[in-house]
Symmetry: C2
Subunit: 394 residues, 2 copies
């Protein structure tokens, strides 16, 4: 019989998806270039040529049986070694190949990381605002997602609220910095305090509490900063990465879990992930994509457009009187709406062909998200609509 559980999910279409479909339909009417679609977080810049070159070289020069062969479920050994070497150079870590587990993007990484360090009924703490898919990513493992309310002043961590969220059942804390949807990047101070609090809770409860650090936006950081590397601050860290944003290849589904060598059971977590794969149909990420990314480690697409767009929007939003935290990275910005009901606010914006996403489903009611992964020209053309929208309504 059809699963009633999954059938019942069909009714709950995501707000983002609805708005994106509206934008597409509206685009069919007036031309998509005239729809200021800030709904979807899809990278808008091309993959670096080095990646394309690596793919073509692999296709033309390598033995096809080897090239397209199964990788081990943990990933191709040489690819894992190359990742360990790269991460060690970049972040001064002590990874070996055995600490890497190649995945089909960040979704695949989190699917494995959560299962590796939780038992059914265990609690995983995350922080509002958060990527709504976390509810499925965590909830469907059998663990329970607990949300710590947002510190809406800075979008760092409200440590008192976090302290209250821990319990005997807490097995993991899930962070996402730089953050979707707020654009905030956790500071060294935040990560230091987080690590101290988590260490104390490990002592209190007498068991490990893992930090699962979801870092697909690690390379999109503004103002010449670099993102502090959470595994530096806390031993029991599983770093989840995706190349979707840094290389602009979201469809190719490639990323990894990197197990901090100083973590408890660091030597077996990646092997355990291989076992987890067997139950969720993962097997291994595509071989050719594994090989190609390992040839361009450290390369990124030209990500500068995101900072350009952020500055344009941030300045305009400030000038229009919005309360808004300046993003440290990503391609998102999350201002407070100009009325309490951010859903009503975003609905009114649609009349100006501005597609804004109410942040209620991200756990930040009263705010809205703009995904500015789009041409700078279009961002500039949207400003007039934004001004008219605000002037006419508020």
């Amino acid at each position: 019989m059809i699963s009633e559980d999954y059938r019942s999910m069909l009714n709950g279409k995501s707000v983002i998806r609805q708005l994106s479909e509206y934008a597409t339909a509206r685009g069919a009417e007036i031309g998509y270039e005239n729809v200021f679609d800030y709904s979807l977080g899809n990278p808008s810049v091309p993959v670096p040529e080095s990646f394309t070159d690596a793919m073509i070289r692999l296709l033309t020069e390598e033995d096809p049986v080897k090239l397209h062969g199964y990788s081990q479920s943990q990933g191709i050994p040489a690819v894992r070694q190359a990742h360990a070497d790269y991460l060690n150079r970049r972040f001064d870590m002590g990874y070996e190949a055995e600490h890497l587990f190649m995945t089909t993007g960040a979704a695949g990484a989190i699917a494995h990381a959560v299962r590796a360090v939780t038992a059914p009924g265990d609690e995983v703490i995350t922080f509002a605002p958060f990527f709504p898919e976390y509810i499925q990513y965590v909830g469907r493992t059998g663990a329970v997602l607990k949300i710590v309310p947002a510190d809406t002043r800075t979008f760092q961590i409200d440590m008192d609220a976090l302290r209250d969220a821990f319990s005997e059942k807490t097995s993991a804390v899930l962070i996402n910095s730089p953050n979707n949807p707020s654009g905030a990047m956790y500071t060294e101070e935040t990560l230091t305090a987080l690590a101290a609090l988590m260490s104390g809770m490990q002592d209190r409860y007498g068991h490990e509490i893992f930090l699962i650090s979801d870092e697909p936006y690690r390379e999109i950081v503004f103002d010449g900063q670099t993102a502090p590397y959470p595994a530096h601050f806390y031993d029991n860290t599983l770093t989840c990465y995706s190349y979707s944003k840094s290389l602009s290849i979201p469809g190719e589904r490639i990323g990894y879990v990197a197990v901090n060598p100083r973590a408890k059971d660091a030597d077996i977590i990646s092997v355990m992930c291989g076992q987890i794969s067997r139950g969720i149909g993962h097997n291994c990420p595509p071989s050719i994509i594994q090989l190609a990314v390992s040839e361009v480690l450290g390369d990124t697409a030209d990500l500068s457009v995101y900072e350009t767009n952020m500055n344009i929007l941030y300045n305009e939003l400030l000038a229009l009187g919005f309360e808004v935290t300046r993003p440290g990275g990503t391609f998102y910005i999350m201002p407070r709406a100009l009325e309490t009901d951010s859903i009503a606010f975003c609905n009114k914006a649609k009349k100006y062909d501005l597609i804004l996403v109410p942040a209620d489903s991200f756990g930040a009611p009263g705010f809205f998200r703009m995904a500015y992964c789009t041409d700078t020209d279009k961002v500039e053309r949207s400003l007039d609509a934004l001004r008219r929208f605000v002037r006419d309504n508020y």
Copy 2:
């Protein structure tokens, strides 16, 4: 804390894996060309050039942002449409794009299909001998895998044993034809009888019982035959496919679920699979691989070597007095061992650098599997070792 559940799986290394590692280690001593390694079912022929050409064309001619962009979780619409059209031409079916769900290979396909048509505690029936990963593929969904004993005379289905296996809790029957490990292909008679029995059980229990048909070996069929298409025989069929064997690209993780348009709820099962993906980290199969396979539908690698190898081995095994069913397809053959304990039998074979896999873990104790996806030259060179092994020991 580390998951004790997954940690406990680390002790159970598969027999195939152990033997494959032994073969690799032995190869390091005496040269791998001298190890007659029949352990692993890895395709041994190159991908067709048309696939490589399609990949290179996509990489050089398409807009990279579009090419590498997210696909919908059900798959790229044009890819799904192309699959529907192809399957309709080939199998005289009535698929529309909405009936297709693109997956990361057969493992991904089964992970979705089982979840779509079962609830936790439901029973899924399969048949010995079977691919041992089914235990994980099915068991980790929450459903219970029930094994019908093999008909070791023909490796078709023992219908009486199947009838006894049904219960109120049966939600699905999982078949794999042509079969790993036996090489048997279900005849039209078998599929007709299976469909009749399943239809009767649907009536008896008053609910749907889905046929999940795992068909990665559909294109590797011998003696000029074609594999009967199970969805033709039974309406409630979910066809699970992988291009791993037909295109010789097992590492690239691409396949699909095709929902029979005549199945109950045929219009929503693929959408439900999209929901299932959210909980298991699947998202979408790699975009470029989706696009490339859709450009070469109907093409295959040169699969003729498998039939050549099968004939050589089958004739030699017969001549040596083995009881063996002639494979209808795949690149496996599964003779009865020459002593009751097939593990002891395979251990003795190692002294002749013959790597044979006892079929106990496939649910066929007393038999052994040979995976002859290798060069014909090596198969021929192995015959002397096989003869010496038999002569010296039996």
